[in-house]
């Protein structure tokens, strides 16, 4: 049991805090519980919910960010996802899209498959991002810090990474309701 457990906010609380600060920005949400929880908390057409292809949320967000330089793109990612697609930190860091905010909801486990440990209890992903060339990186535990730093990143040129330590609690959130082609169409129309 991690010492900080019990004091941390849940992933859903962190997602709620981020979504409260957004309006019509494109948001890519990684597969597993993050997409299901985001859909439950605030379903918006600007959300792209992933249901598979673990590890590439940031790459999808990067494709959107490079193609829509005037929109701030937010990626809601997990620690397992970032570890799986860690090369993308280098691609983001090298290409340096200013309009890219990478939020990593770090609970140190693969939540969707039974809370098996990842490696983020020892590997500091925000420092990997910093070394890869992200311009601003922050690691937060408290909700107030999350809100403060995320608001700040909305104003700053990125790429930005906000790593949020969260606990292992998963909301009772149902599967993604829309069919994948409908998610694509709805998202495309919403960010046009």
């Amino acid at each position: 049991m991690r010492p900080e457990q019990g004091t941390l906010q849940s992933r859903a609380q962190a997602i709620g805090a981020v979504l409260e600060l957004l309006t019509d920005q494109p948001v890519i949400v990684c597969n597993g519980f993050p997409s299901r929880e985001a859909q439950k908390i605030a379903d918006r057409p600007t959300h792209f919910y992933m249901i598979g292809s673990m590890g590439v949320a940031a790459a999808i967000g990067l494709g959107v960010a490079l193609s829509k330089p005037n929109k701030t793109v937010v990626v809601l990612d997990g620690d397992g996802n970032v570890l799986m697609g860690m090369g993308t930190l280098a691609t983001v860091g090298a290409l340096k899209p200013k309009n890219f905010i990478h939020v990593v909801l770090d609970n140190e486990v693969y939540g969707s498959t039974g809370n098996q440990p990842t490696l983020s209890n020892v590997v500091r992903l925000e420092q990997v991002a910093k070394a890869a060339g992200y311009v601003n990186v922050e690691r937060v535990l408290e909700r107030e810090d999350l809100v403060y730093e995320f608001k700040d990143m909305l104003k700053k040129d990125g790429p930005n990474m906000l790593l949020v330590k969260v606990n292992e609690f998963a909301e009772d959130a149902g599967r993604i309701l829309l069919d994948p082609p409908e998610i694509t169409k709805r998202f495309m129309k919403a960010i046009e």
Binding site: I51, G52, S53, A59, G61, L66, K68, T91, T184, I191
Partner: protein, 165 residues
């Protein structure tokens, strides 16, 4: 042999305006031409490249991904559980290493298996030749946007001019 600049121009004329991928020697001339035209966004893995292409497509671009056929193995999950099921088209420009069993050992299994692999996951494919190039590209243009899925254009050695003629 097809000149790299003519090949890139043909893709641009089709409307393709976002190019990413991971290099292969067979694709060297095409990538050099894309870099010359400042059109190329390099990726570090092929699954990352197809996911970037998916993002670019949803943001209004028409994407192409260049890769060696070994990269089909790396990107298979993204291709089937992202691009295919979400109906996100892209042109896959895939170099056919191990074609007819003539290549280094690491290319032989994928070289032999690739057509069946693509057919199994229902990614339409066509092999580019100099003689049929115009029809090949026309087929790509019609297929990938109509079906809204990835379509593979396979390139064997010597069909498009490489870096070292």
């Amino acid at each position: 042999m097809i000149e790299s600049d003519a090949f890139v121009q043909a893709l641009q004329d089709m409307g393709v305006n976002f190019f990413t991928g991971v290099p292969d020697s067979i694709l060297g001339g095409i990538i050099a031409e894309l870099m010359e035209r400042r059109l190329y966004t390099p990726a570090v893995r092929e699954d990352e490249a197809v996911a970037m292409a998916a993002g670019a497509y949803m943001a209004g671009k028409i994407p192409a991904v260049l890769m060696q056929n070994s990269g089909l193995g790396t990107s298979l999950n993204a291709l089937i559980s992202l691009n295919l099921i979400y109906q996100q088209p892209c042109v896959l420009i895939v170099s056919w290493r191990g074609y007819q069993g003539k290549d280094a050992p690491e290319h032989l299994v994928m070289g032999q298996t690739m057509p069946e692999l693509l057919d199994t996951v229902k990614i339409p494919r066509r092999t580019l030749t100099e003689k049929t190039a115009v029809e090949d590209l026309k087929w790509v243009a019609e297929t990938f946007m109509k079906q809204r899925i990835p379509v593979a254009l396979l390139i064997t050695k010597g069909v498009v001019k490489g870096l070292h003629p």
